[in-house]
Structures are given as structure tokens and as C-alpha cells.
Point group: C2
Chain length 316, copies 2
């Protein structure tokens, strides 16, 4: 499978009835803090509160009817779980979600709210994969991986596509990177819809596998110490080659920088973003000298936060 301009356009048409066209916000305070002209693509206002609604819906819609009827399965403790459960419900099929038993109750409620069936497991990658394999064996469901799936990548590309349509002549676009679904989609959208725009990744220093993988030229294992809990995963064998080819660089930021950026957005833009979502904002502030007076797009990836946890971060 190859992703091109046409396939992204098709994906966009396919998912449009089921997603929000999210607004682009600008903020004088953010422009002052960064020294450039910032355009915030607000996927925190997206269905299920994150861009993940796009990729999951595109993957579900791209299955033929027979496969789709078998049900959709994934392991995820985060936004993809809700996004897939929602897609399944809308399309009249079943979602089977493997989650570590340590996942926050609010995430489980979100999945159950869309009638998704949850299978709990130990909080290790191995347990998640084993449990998912068992669930698939038992149910015959189709796996929809959170990021290492071309249909998912294509769906995530539509966020940047919308931003490029709304804001012309961006000098750069920043997206966070965890597994790389959003980043590789953003990079492909730039290639086909705004080729002059540089694509820059933002990554927590405590989980900088993409930064290290790009340096070494091969997939490096993840560390896992950051408050940006949506970005703990490692890029996959489908996302990494796209990133290698189309992403200019990775800026890494510390947890303190992430918290300061999140606080700035909450207080000055008056919108709720999750820690992972603040990572590119932090990157822009950190490297502001380089972006002076440029037009910079940022994909604000999501707004699903555990308020107690986040407020504890803000006040620590």
C-alpha cells in the first residue's frame, strides 16, 4: 500500500461525516511567547477529544463489510481505544479493547460508553500483545493498530491537510511523536499539500526514541520516563521510514518545559490540552530564535486529561 495525495483526499472524504473539522486558533500571548505567528490546529476539540478519531475511523471504514463485521480489536490504554470503540459503534460492529488493568477509570468508562468490550491484562507490552492475540483468536476480530497501520496514518494525515487548507504558506509545522502515526501522516500531508513547509517533530526528552532512531538510522528502543503519557510508545516499521524520509528534525523537551507550555496554553488560550499535546508548544518556545517571525502550525493532538493528575503537575 502506498499513501499519496489522492489516497489522503479519499480518506478525508471517507471520514468527513464522522469527524469535526476542528478550528484553528491564534493567540497573541502564544505569539509573544514564541516570537512567531502560531496557528493551533485544535484536535483537542475532535471527537473523543483527540486526532485518533480520524485514523481509527478511516481504518474501520476501509475494511470491507465482511471483515468489519468480525469486529475491531486493539490494545491501547489511551485515546485510540476510545476512537476505535466509537468507530465500531457508529459502523454497527463490535470493538474489543485490551487495556492494562492500571488504565485510568475514565479511559475505561470512555470505551464502555461506546459499548466497547474491555479485556484487562498486566501492564506490560508482552501481556498486552499476548492478550490481544488471544482475543483475536477467540473473536476473529480484525486488529487495528494505533499507529503502525497505513489506513490509520492516512486518517491522521487529514488533520494537517485541513490546517494547510485553512492557513497558507506555513514555514513549519510541528507535531508530537510517540508511535509516529500523527507525525508520519502530517509529513505526508505536507509533502502533498504544502511542500514548502518544514515538518518538525517534538518529543519528550525522557522518551526520545525517535530522536535517537533518526540519528542511528535504525529503530532504537524506547525509554519511558515522561509526563507526556501519550508519547511513551516507539515508532513502528511503517511509521519510521516515512519519518526518516520526510521529517526535518526532532526537537526534544524536558518535562518541566512541557508543563510550562501546557500551563501557558491553559491560562492564555483558555483551552484544555493534555501533556503530550503541549510538547510541540514547548519545542517552539525552546527553539524560538530559529523560528523568529515565521508562520508555524502546531497540531494540538488532544485534550484528554486526568484533571487531578495534571493539576498536581501544574502545582508541583
Amino acid at each position: 500500500m502506498s499513501i499519496d495525495r489522492y489516497s489522503i483526499e479519499q480518506a478525508h472524504e471517507r471520514i468527513k461525516p464522522y469527524i469535526h473539522r476542528t478550528p484553528v486558533l491564534t493567540s497573541k500571548s502564544i505569539n509573544e511567547a514564541t516570537g512567531c505567528h502560531v496557528y493551533l490546529k485544535c484536535e483537542n476539540f475532535q471527537k473523543v477529544g483527540a486526532f485518533k478519531a480520524r485514523g481509527a475511523m478511516n481504518a474501520a471504514l476501509s475494511l470491507d463489510a465482511e471483515d468489519r463485521a468480525k469486529g475491531l480489536a486493539t490494545h491501547s490504554s489511551g485515546n485510540h481505544a476510545q476512537a476505535l470503540a466509537r468507530a465500531a459503534k457508529i459502523l454497527g460492529t463490535q470493538a474489543y479493547i485490551v487495556m492494562p488493568h492500571t488504565a485510568p477509570e475514565i479511559k475505561k468508562r470512555g470505551v464502555r460508553g461506546y459499548s466497547g468490550e474491555i479485556f484487562e491484562c498486566e501492564p506490560t507490552l508482552q501481556a498486552r500483545e499476548t492478550t490481544l492475540a488471544e482475543v483475536i483468536k477467540k473473536t476473529g476480530a480484525i486488529e487495528i493498530h494505533p499507529f503502525n497501520n497505513y489506513d490509520v496514518i492516512e486518517g491522521q494525515a487529514t488533520a494537517a491537510k485541513e490546517l494547510f487548507a485553512d492557513v497558507r504558506e506555513l514555514d513549519a509545522i510541528l507535531a508530537p511523536v510517540g508511535g509516529g502515526g500523527l507525525l508520519s501522516g502530517t509529513a505526508l500531508a505536507a509533502k502533498y499539500f504544502s511542500p514548502e513547509t518544514k515538518v518538525i517533530a517534538a518529543e519528550p526528552a525522557g522518551s526520545d526514541d525517535t530522536y535517537r532512531s533518526l540519528k542511528s538510522g535504525k529503530l532504537e528502543p524506547a525509554q519511558s520516563q515522561t509526563i507526556a503519557d501519550g508519547l511513551l510508545t516507539t515508532v513502528g516499521d511503517k511509521t519510521f521510514p516515512i519519518i526518516q524520509k520526510h521529517v526535518s528534525e526532532v526537537i526534544t523537551v524536558t518535562d518541566d518545559e512541557i508543563i510550562a507550555a501546557m500551563r501557558l496554553v491553559w491560562e492564555r488560550v483558555k483551552i484544555i490540552i493534555e501533556p503530550s499535546c503541549a510538547v510541540p508548544v514547548a519545542a517552539l518556545i525552546k527553539e524560538k530564535a530559529r523560528f523568529h517571525d515565521q508562520r508555524v502550525g502546531i497540531i494540538l493532538s488532544g485534550g484528554n486529561v486526568d484533571l487531578e493528575k495534571v493539576l498536581a503537575l501544574l502545582t508541583r
Copy 2:
């Protein structure tokens, strides 16, 4: 002075270059929680983070050049202080703001950020009024009262006017009431631009002077125990008659109900609102049976929160 359709239209034209036309958001979660169709007019995204930017700017622009050059003065510990300082700065005059020395540092920084001059006083109404009188005597500045001023009321009316233009056939519109500037403006906007829409006030039970004043037919003194700190003031002799004439009723809500509503909006709409701003949302949830399936507008008045303080509320 009388406020009519034409004067509100004029005020709107006057302030348009200086304010945001704020978006109207809808949310499936909020509709589910309230059982009706809710349209949120997001004045939390307004300049200075609150509708107060409208009234202060209209009052400042309505002065003749000679008076305006004398400077603008007020006592306020809240959003009006910043709004007036901003208006003064934009119009090239000076703002003199009397604030209790206990006012949060962030509010003082906001005023100073617009080059406003702060005069600190004891945190009592009497001290505030005495200090303001001294400042006016010394500087010759013109007082712009936070709400008991027809130009201010007219400016605040423009928020509802915009909502009525964007969303037709609202059955009801809810606004919070403190001093009554926003509420009386909203009531007049409904009268002239959407006469079929019922205007309902929402007030903290711990500061229910409007509720009691409407019952007794005269201005009742305020109590002052609520976390909705923007609504501690009492309606004035200019706002109360408008409210008496044009507001159908006042729904009062407890602090617990306010906190639950604020949390709902933060978590599900992904926007930051201040406790005062959550009061009408709480009122709608409390009285949901009555509004079943109706089309209801809510003025979300502002988003200026002290994050630390809100943390304490959400986790108490």
C-alpha cells in the same frame, strides 16, 4: 440615557475593531448532561479572557476626547480592571485601578501588562471607594464603574446580540449575575433582537442577592460566600431595574453544583472556564427537567482562573 436597539447596534459597531467575535460551541456531552440543545457563547476566548472587554471598551470609546484624555479610573479586583487598562492603553490614555492588596498577583500583572497604574487598598468596599475617590480627586480621571454604567451595560449586551445572530430561535438564554452588567445587557439584547427568548439568571446560592432582591422588590444586601468570586458583588441601581423588568427568574446553585459543572465543561468541552462562568451551566443541569429538548444559549462569561486555586476546588 436609554438603551435601545439602535444604541446597542451602535455600541457593537464602535467596539468591533477591538474585540473578538467569539465562537459558539456545542457539545454532545453537554447536551446529554442537560437534556437540551445548548449553545455556548465563549467569552472565555474574549480579549482579556472575559466579556468585560466589551463594556469597558464601549464606555471608554463613548467618552469625548477631552474626558478620555483625563484617564479612566475604577476599583476592581477582577476582569474589569484588566479590561479598562486595555481600553486605556489602546486609546492612548491612562488607567488608574484601585485594587485590594489581597488581589491575586496574576490580576495585578494583567493590569500592569497594559500599563495600568495600580493603587492598593484594604480589602473592604469602603476602602476601595475611599481610595478611588482620592485617586479621582488627584488625577481628574473619569470613573468607569464595572457594571452600574449604561455604556458598560450596552457593551455587555453585544455578546448576546452576537449569539442571537449566530443561533436562531433560542427558547432561553442564561447568564450569571453578580453586579448585573452582563445580565441586564443580555436582557436588553433579548428584548431587541430575540424577544421570544426567555432570559434567566444564574446565581450562586451563597451570594443570592439578586434572587432575594427580585422577591422583595428592593435591593437586598449581598452575602458573600461562594467560590464564584466574580459574582460576589450586588446589583446596582442602574442594573436592577432592567433585571426586574426583563429577567424571568433567577436559578440559584450551590458551590458543589458549580464545581461539578466547571469540571464537566473542562473535561468534555476542553475549554477553561472560571467558577463564575460555570454557574449558568450548573443552573441548567439542576433544572434540566424544565428545559427538556429546548434550545438554550449560555453566555460563558470568562476563563480567568487561578489554576492552583481551582486545583484545590476540584480535589477537595
